[in-house]
């Protein structure tokens, strides 16, 4: 059978939506099948950069999250620009008809853009904004007279009390 499928622009969009949904749901389902299931209170809260997701709106976030988010955005934007650029940049017909001027112009424009972004990264790096302060770890030497089993049982009991009997 001759496969000459013509997709309209919108159906491409639909394909992306479906593909995205499959990947997301697939990931969640697979991990659900493979993982251990030991919920506790901390694990069941939604992740909010180490903060309590429900609470006072004036709570302070660690400022470094914003910096990291900014830097992430920097390169996210770069990527968004690079994709369409790449398809237009390599257009052989345009390059041929403008005697190569097109290619050089577009190349230089993008290089200037990337250079400025990299300068931003270099700035953040050199000024020490990326360096994430590591927590100082010290071994706490304490021998508990209570056996470990007791703690585990207690935790289990508390979890069940908190979330009801899930299984």
């Amino acid at each position: 059978m001759a496969t000459n499928v013509n997709l309209s622009d919108l159906s491409i969009l639909l394909l992306f939506l479906v593909g995205g949904a499959i990947f997301t749901i697939g990931g969640i389902v697979t991990s659900r099948l493979l993982r251990n299931d030991k919920p506790n209170k901390e694990k069941n809260t939604s992740y909010e950069s180490g903060e309590d997701p429900v609470g006072n709106a004036w709570g302070q976030f660690n400022l470094r999250f914003y910096l990291v988010a900014l830097m992430f955005l920097l390169f996210e934007v770069e990527l968004i620009f690079l994709f369409p650029w790449a398809t237009v940049f390599g257009d052989k017909q345009l390059i041929a008809e403008t005697n190569g001027v097109w290619g050089w112009l577009v190349w230089f424009e993008m290089m200037i853009f990337i250079f400025i972004l990299v300068l931003g990264l270099a700035y953040a790096w050199r000024k020490g904004f990326i360096a994430w302060e590591k927590p100082r770890q010290s071994v706490y030497l304490f021998k508990s007279p209570v056996p470990g089993k007791l703690y585990e049982d207690f935790n289990k009991k508390m979890t069940e009390k908190e979330y009801g009997r899930k299984k």
Binding site: V88, D91, Q93, L94, E97, T98, V101, W102, L105, I116, L119, A122, Y123, R126, K127
Partner: protein
């Protein structure tokens, strides 16, 4: 899909446009150079950043002057996004000179001499704001204009907090909140305007307006929103409230910078919008509001509010902030003019204002260094301790008031002549009101400007602080700022010959 034939046209347009923006390239390169230098060896010798910023601006100045000498008629480049003409080049030169003066007076400011904090950022932001202002002056397209405006605003928000203390952060934060609000309003206005006119250019609205220059409410609303955003940037009533707080919180040299560079850019954009879009002629039909009357009333209130508030100020910087609001009001009057004399009056005023402002702020910096505060009462006894500088300050204050024999008088004289001409020409009473209020308010201005000389000469120093002293270089700098103020009173033609070579018709 792009067509190859179109692409060739685009490329030709870009290649044609490239050589006309040498000033901007220089500034961009110097920003990058300052950042790179700061990263490589900013900690060891920050003096280098100073030199890089100054060199970059000097080269940009030369490039602008070169353009000024070569560019004849207006040049629309980058698909009408940018318009290079003698007017915008003249203002570019003024903007660069103002930034150079800022860097010069920064070098006297104590915190910068001692703390050495964030100098790379400071100079690159200063250059960035200058770049944005120059692009704003040259913009010929609302998107270009908004981009340039945001470049200026973002830089200003950051640099306003460069005292790194609680007050400084508070001022910067206020500036961000107010500024973002103003930008948002303006952007919404621009989008509405695009909806109505299908164009981002500064098109003549009188052509699309109905008979009798009437426009409907929506378009009028869009224009009012754009104008409100600009009012914020050039601190016209009722959008002036942020000015005293931000000016007080910022480092003093930055206060001087704020009252000149972003303001000139905003005023020029106001001029472009008012004159090229014919806003002076429009009337919003449904509420029968004449836009020129609205602008005139805003200017009148600006003058009244600013001058009467300035009387009560104890801090020199806050007083100068209100003074800068008041001068914005005067320049707004020049913008409303119907004839080309208005533009000449505006340019003359701007030039004189730069000289006066930097002189006063320079002395304020010296005072702050000596006493640690900028209270007007700290001027006590300065008349004896530093006679030459005090004389210079008296001249500057007289000029700010607008009394002879200073160029401040000439500037106001030309301005009021223009307003009178407008009144005779159009017979609209708003011009008469502008004239009367402008004259009347100068009396109020006299009161607060001359309070400083009063403290300097008639009050004795209380002896608990060191007197302000000026070394030879600082006196020469003051002389350099005050001499033109004298000379241009007797020979205004020297400046007018330059300004007159700007062809109004081709703008």
């Amino acid at each position: 899909m792009l067509l190859a034939a179109d692409i060739s046209v685009y490329i030709d347009e870009i290649i044609r446009s490239l050589p006309l923006l040498t000033t901007e390239y220089t500034l961009v390169l110097s920003i990058i150079a300052i950042i790179v230098m700061d990263l490589l060896f900013g900690k060891e010798n920050p003096q280098l950043l100073y030199m890089a910023a100054t060199t970059g601006l000097l080269v940009a100045l030369i490039a602008s002057i070169n353009d000024w000498n070569t560019v004849e008629g207006p040049q629309n480049i980058f698909e009408n996004m940018i318009r290079v003409n003698r007017l915008s080049l003249f203002l570019s030169i003024l903007l660069i000179i103002a930034t150079l003066l800022t860097i010069l007076i920064t070098s006297f400011e104590k915190p910068f001499k001692e703390e050495k904090k964030g100098e790379g950022e400071y100079f690159s932001l200063l250059t960035l704001i200058t770049l944005g202002s120059i692009l704003m002056v040259k913009a010929n397209h609302f998107l270009m204009f908004f981009l340039a405006l945001e470049t200026v605003s973002m830089g200003s928000y950051l640099i306003a907090g460069f005292k790194f203390d609680r007050k400084g952060s508070e001022g910067a934060m206020k500036y961000v909140l107010f500024g973002a609000f103003a930008s948002a309003i303006m952007l919404y206005g621009i989008s509405l305007l695009y909806g109505y006119t299908n164009s981002f250019g500064f098109i003549d609205l009188t052509e699309i307006a109905a008979q009798g220059r009437q426009i409907d409410f929506g378009l009028g609303f869009a224009l009012i929103m754009i104008i409100s955003g600009l009012f914020f940037k050039i601190s016209i009533f009722p959008f002036h409230v942020w000015v005293p707080d931000v000016y007080k919180a910022a480092p003093t040299s930055i206060t001087a910078f704020f009252s000149i560079v972003p303001k000139i850019a905003g005023l020029m954009m106001m001029f472009n919008i008012v004159n090229r879009m014919g806003i002076n002629d429009l009337e919003i039909s449904s509420i029968s509001l004449h836009l020129d009357e609205m602008l005139g009333i805003a200017a009148i209130f600006t003058l009244i509010v600013a001058n009467f508030s300035a009387i009560w100020q104890k801090s020199g910087k806050r007083m100068m902030a209100y003074s800068s609001i008041s001068h914005a009001g005067f320049m707004m009057i020049a913008i409303l003019s119907l004839t080309e004399m208005g533009l000449y009056a505006l340019l003359f005023y701007i030039f004189i204002y730069i000289l006066m402002n930097y002189g006063v702020f320079f002395i304020l910096i010296k005072l702050e260094n000596a006493t640690g505060s900028d209270e007007i009462s700290d001027f006590k006894g300065m008349g004896k301790a530093a006679p030459v500088a005090s004389t210079a300050l008296v001249i500057l204050m007289i000029s700010l008031t607008g009394l002879p024999p200073t160029a401040g008088f000439t500037a106001k004289f030309i301005l009021f002549t223009t307003v009178w001409e407008n009144f005779e020409l159009s017979g609209q009473y708003i011009y008469l009101f502008l004239l009367l209020i402008g004259l009347g308010i100068s009396v109020v201005a006299l009161f607060y400007y001359l309070r400083i000389p009063y403290f300097m000469y008639f009050k004795e120093s209380e002896g608990k602080r060191e007197p302000v002293t000026f070394n030879l270089f600082e006196l020469i700098f003051l002389l350099f700022l005050t001499t033109p103020i004298f000379l241009l009173f007797f020979q205004p033609d020297w400046l007018f010959d330059v300004i007159n070579s700007i062809n109004f018709a081709s703008n």
